[in-house]
């Protein structure tokens, strides 16, 4: 369980987050949605400790992550897996080395156990046998899947995903969504996804947090979103003619 309490974050005069409160539950996929500049990526970075909020708390199972120093954060960070928007794979390492890297740093597994784990993770993302390729040799969708394989290598309790579908074709985007859904079930992890992809919203969003101008504007499930009368949310979700037509059918 992750609790976000009254988070404020500014960059200079730009007050990006203005008192966000939210709860993210284990075994569920929580989506943070909002327009460009609404603060969704900043909120995610505050949650994982890449940005320090000026005010507020992020609690992991009741422990205040924002007040911890580098050393005390390590046990929680070992339980975090994250997929970045551009995958953030280490260029100088092969696919296998990328996946093994967190295990080498933090586990006492033997070499063979680590390779077995890497193979399992690669099978899990349908990339078996691609161990020796370098990130430069992979397509965008494959990089995302390797990023997911690296994120799950330590069997995370918390999975954070930043724009998983950006730059992907619709078919691959759906595959990535399905994978995130399957992994959330498998590890019963608290999954938080930042997205503006409406297929993800309607498909995998157990809990949706809509940010508007740095504030929590709406929260609910993907079933409730179709019937909301919040104008800003409707303008965002049903912006395209296709989505408008889909809403009318509901």
């Amino acid at each position: 369980m992750i609790e976000v309490q009254n988070i404020h974050k500014s960059f200079g005069d730009n007050h990006v987050l203005r008192g966000i409160d939210a709860n993210f539950e284990p075994g569920k996929i929580s989506l943070i949605i909002g327009g460009s500049g609404s603060g969704k990526s900043t909120l995610l970075k505050c949650m994982v400790g890449l940005h320090a909020p000026e005010q507020g708390k992020v609690l992991y199972n009741g422990e205040d992550f924002t007040r911890m120093d580098f050393e005390t954060r390590i046990p929680i960070r070992k339980e975090i897996g994250m997929l970045f928007q551009n995958s953030a794979l280490f260029d100088s390492m092969t696919v296998e080395q990328n996946i093994i890297f967190p295990l080498e740093m933090f586990s006492d597994m033997s070499r063979n156990e680590k390779i077995d784990r890497a193979n399992y993770c690669l099978e899990r993302v349908n990339l078996a046998g691609r161990n020796k390729l370098y990130p430069a040799e992979l397509s965008g969708g494959m990089k995302k899947r390797v990023g997911i394989a690296r994120a799950i290598s330590m069997s995370p309790k918390y999975l954070f995903v930043d724009e998983p579908n950006s730059g992907l074709d619709p078919e691959t985007a759906i595959l990535i969504d399905e994978l995130i859904s399957e992994l959330t079930d498998e590890y019963q992890c608290t999954t938080v996804v930042v997205t503006h992809d409406m297929n993800s919203v309607m498909g995998i969003g157990d809990y949706i947090l809509f940010l508007y101008k740095g504030q929590k504007w709406w929260e609910g499930s993907n079933k409730e979103i179709a019937h909301t009368d919040v104008e800003e949310l409707n303008n965002f979700v049903f912006a395209s003619p296709f989505m408008k037509a889909a809403k009318e059918r509901f």
Binding site: L50, F70, F84, P102, M105
Partner: protein, 244 residues
């Protein structure tokens, strides 16, 4: 502004020297960086040092026109100049360009592609993992390169002096062996150690805090080289003033 950056640099160094998560992983990185910085720069430093030594010998001979001064003095001057100043400083300035720009752009690229964020999310001390091996490789390999540079500058001087007829090989060898003070090599090694630290840490600092994209990585790399070069010259003056 200067103090803000200097404070940020000191805080980064504090993070760099935090206890490593696993020494064997760091050890592999140190060996890799020693190979990159040391072996990767051998050819360039060898060529530069040999030619600088040869040219120095001819220029000293050109300036020593008095019949009262024995030609073996050419060897002596070349030896002391190479050991005390030319080899450490020119090697460091060249490496600030070659190694420093490589370090800034490598770390800067990792920053803008979120690879450093990925390390931090995993709970890895990113400054330690990325910068400590480079600093340790720099402070060990740059003194080795300087020693090699001194040797090749003296060999270059012998070749240059003999080929131009400025000094006979016998006089030159007599000059470089006569009145040799071992302490000058210690001064050169201290300079090399300090320069190695400056080149690696300053370049890494500029790369680590880069924001933006490819353009900013290039700018950070250039700034890293400029600041390293100026810092090397200032440190050269300070070490010389303290040790001689």
């Amino acid at each position: 502004m200067f103090f803000t950056y200097f404070g940020q640099y000191l805080l980064l160094l504090k993070a760099v020297f935090r206890r490593p998560e696993k020494w064997n992983i760091y050890w592999k990185e140190i060996i890799h960086e020693m190979n990159e910085i040391g072996v990767g720069s051998l050819g360039l430093i060898a060529i530069i040092s040999t030619f600088v030594g040869a040219v120095m010998t001819m220029q000293i001979a050109f300036q020593l026109v008095s019949d009262l001064i024995p030609t073996s003095v050419i060897g002596q001057i070349n030896r002391d100049s190479s050991i005390l100043e030319l080899s450490p400083t020119i090697t460091a300035l060249v490496l600030a360009g070659k190694v420093g720009s490589s370090i800034s752009s490598q770390i800067g690229s990792m920053r803008v592609t979120e690879q450093i964020d990925a390390l931090e999310i995993m709970g890895i001390n990113a400054p330690g993992y990325l910068i400590l091996p480079k600093i340790l490789a720099g402070i060990t390999m740059i003194p080795v390169l300087v020693i090699m540079s001194i040797f090749l500058a003296l060999v270059g001087g012998l070749a240059g002096g003999s080929l131009s007829g400025a000094v006979t090989p016998a006089d030159y060898i007599n000059g470089i062996t006569d009145g040799f003070i071992g302490y000058t090599v210690a001064v050169a090694l201290v300079k090399a150690f300090v320069f190695g630290f400056i080149i690696t840490s300053v370049s890494a600092f500029k790369g680590f805090y880069v924001r933006g994209g490819a353009l900013e990585v290039g700018q950070a790399s250039t700034r890293g080289v400029v600041i390293s070069c100026i810092s090397i010259l200032v440190a050269d003056y300070i070490v010389t003033a303290l040790m001689l």
